[in-house]
């Protein structure tokens, strides 16, 4: 009996390992961008994205499908690591100081385009700081993480409706700050 259970567990573990590895290419980028929104430093955000996969690998035994897709689980780990990071850095709200410079230091694109993108990102990041932490998380998970509102609700342990409401409030707030016309 227990041998059969062990075998099932081992098979599930092997399946999850393959699934986790297959998510790496796409979700590393998304998690790095999500982390960048919260911690305001691209290099640290990229390190953190790598740490998310290592942590996920170590915690794979605790992962159970139960309707939570693995990508949503990865963002939950990412969020916990972001919180730890900010706590260590004693940053209640990220300052975003140097974010834009860091973000484009290694880019090998056209300098003019880089400058344009840099200004754009700076403008949006300054607007993001003015959102509540929850709103920032919704925007990060939805727009940069590419998750559905249902998956965001699972990560934030809130109802779908609450997430949609926060999302609308966040976008309206960003719209006002960025002064985007209709």
């Amino acid at each position: 009996m227990s041998t059969s259970r062990d075998r099932d567990k081992a098979e599930a573990r092997a399946r999850y390992e393959i699934e986790l590895a297959s998510l790496y290419e796409e979700y590393y980028d998304r998690i790095a961008r999500y982390a960048c929104v919260h911690i305001g430093d691209r290099c640290d955000a990229e390190d953190l994205a790598g740490d998310v996969f290592l942590k996920a690998l170590k915690s794979l035994d605790s992962y159970e499908e139960r309707g939570v897709p693995m990508q949503a689980w990865l963002f939950r780990i990412a969020h916990n690591l972001v919180v730890d990071y900010l706590r260590k850095k004693t940053k209640a709200i990220p300052s975003y100081a140097g974010t834009v410079e860091n973000a484009f230091q290694q880019a090998d694109a056209d300098p003019e385009l880089m400058a344009e993108q840099s200004i754009r990102m700076e403008k949006v990041t300054r607007a993001m700081v003015q959102l509540t932490a929850d709103q920032r998380q919704v925007v990060g998970l939805r727009f940069l993480g590419g998750l559905s509102s249902k998956e965001v609700a699972q990560i934030m342990k809130k109802s779908d409706g609450a997430v949609r409401e926060m999302q609308r409030a966040a976008v309206e707030r960003l719209r006002n700050i960025l002064a985007i016309e209709g």
Partner: protein, 344 residues
């Protein structure tokens, strides 16, 4: 102040939140469509009543997404991948060490390879070479860590071909392939595998000739993109006998070409790449790029596909003739591949 009509008050209390929730749902659906690449105006066309309110919000969303549309540094990503791969390998090794010796022997690929070799040797000695044995060597069993589940035979074969352009200038063009990635249509996940034949000489596969580099079992479904991660390209010119540089547009050759893989058939995907000349006669340069028009998938019934008596009809062959090599049991006329032994 008391409402002149108490019932109105109740109605307002109930209806207003519902309307707000409806708008939240509409916005949510619009944001999903933005994420999937639709443009704002085509989305708004479906919500004429909410256009004025939705338009600025959708523009804000696009602005936010585009502001963060940078790609993380390739070096950082590569380092993180290596750390992840090392951790995964270590974890598997530790797990393997904890198993009893007889279980270890069964999961150890080298042992399997030795057993398989012995079986083949015995069969060859007593029965002679039969094509039906070749699935024993289904490639992909060494793929780590981003690997599809593989098995003998398999439902998917990956083939390389060369559209004739500047290939006649070369004595050989060896393309080293590190790995191949397939992106699923539904969830965008990647399936990656290492080719069993990691080096292909494009001069040996011109036009309709092909070289199968991998065969195995992958999850069925629809796929939208194919990446071939190229390690190196070495070209030797006929005229001088010297090695010349063949540039790559990127470290991976990218094709956006939808195709489907099913469990009950064998999908053979032919990835056509070509060397073409740039510059002038005095300063000739060469580049390797994928050819979407010559690439494509075809499907054949599974049993028939393994060792076809005839060539099958196939579908979506994108202009390639039906006598392409689509199985390991096929044509003696095929060039002998440059094999890189991936096995331990």
């Amino acid at each position: 102040m008391q409402s002149p009509h108490p019932r109105w008050e109740r109605v307002r209390v109930r209806v207003i939140p519902k309307m707000a929730d409806n708008f939240d749902q509409t916005l949510d659906r619009c944001l999903d469509r933005i994420r999937s690449g639709e443009d704002i105006e085509s989305i708004l066309a479906d919500y004429p009543g909410d256009t004025i309110r939705l338009r600025p919000l959708l523009r804000t969303t696009v602005e936010t997404v585009q502001a963060y549309s940078y790609s993380p540094a390739a070096g950082a990503k590569r380092d993180a991948r290596e750390r992840f791969t090392a951790a995964l390998t270590e974890l598997r090794e530790t797990r393997r060490q904890k198993q009893p010796w007889f279980k270890r022997a069964f999961v150890r690929p080298a042992t399997w390879a030795a057993v398989a070799t012995l079986v083949v040797a015995i069969v060859v000695a007593f029965v002679g070479v039969r094509p039906a044995l070749s699935p024993l060597f289904s490639p992909g069993s060494q793929v780590l860590p981003i690997a599809p589940v593989t098995s003998a035979g398999g439902n998917f074969a990956f083939l390389i071909s060369d559209e004739v352009n500047a290939i006649a200038d070369f004595e050989s063009v060896i393309v080293g392939i590190d790995r191949i990635g397939l992106q699923r249509q539904d969830d965008g996940k990647w399936i990656e595998f290492k080719p069993e034949i990691a080096e292909v000489d494009l001069t040996q596969v011109p036009g309709d000739a092909v070289q199968e580099v991998w065969r195995g079992e992958i999850p069925s479904g629809e796929f939208r993109q194919v990446f071939v991660y190229v390690d190196n390209v070495t070209g030797v010119l006929k005229a001088t006998g010297r090695t010349t540089e063949i540039k790559l547009p990127a470290s991976k050759l990218h094709l956006s070409l939808p195709f489907a893989v099913t469990d009950d058939s064998v999908t053979s995907f032919t990835y056509d790449m070509t060397v073409f000349g740039t510059g002038n006669e005095r300063n000739q340069k060469y580049m390797l790029k994928p050819q979407i028009g010559e690439s494509g998938a075809r499907q054949d019934p599974r049993q028939q596909k393994e060792y076809p008596a005839d060539k099958g009809t196939g579908n979506g062959n994108n202009g390639k003739s039906d006598d392409r090599n689509t199985s390991p049991g096929r044509p003696a006329s095929l060039p002998t591949p440059t094999r890189k032994n991936n096995k331990e």
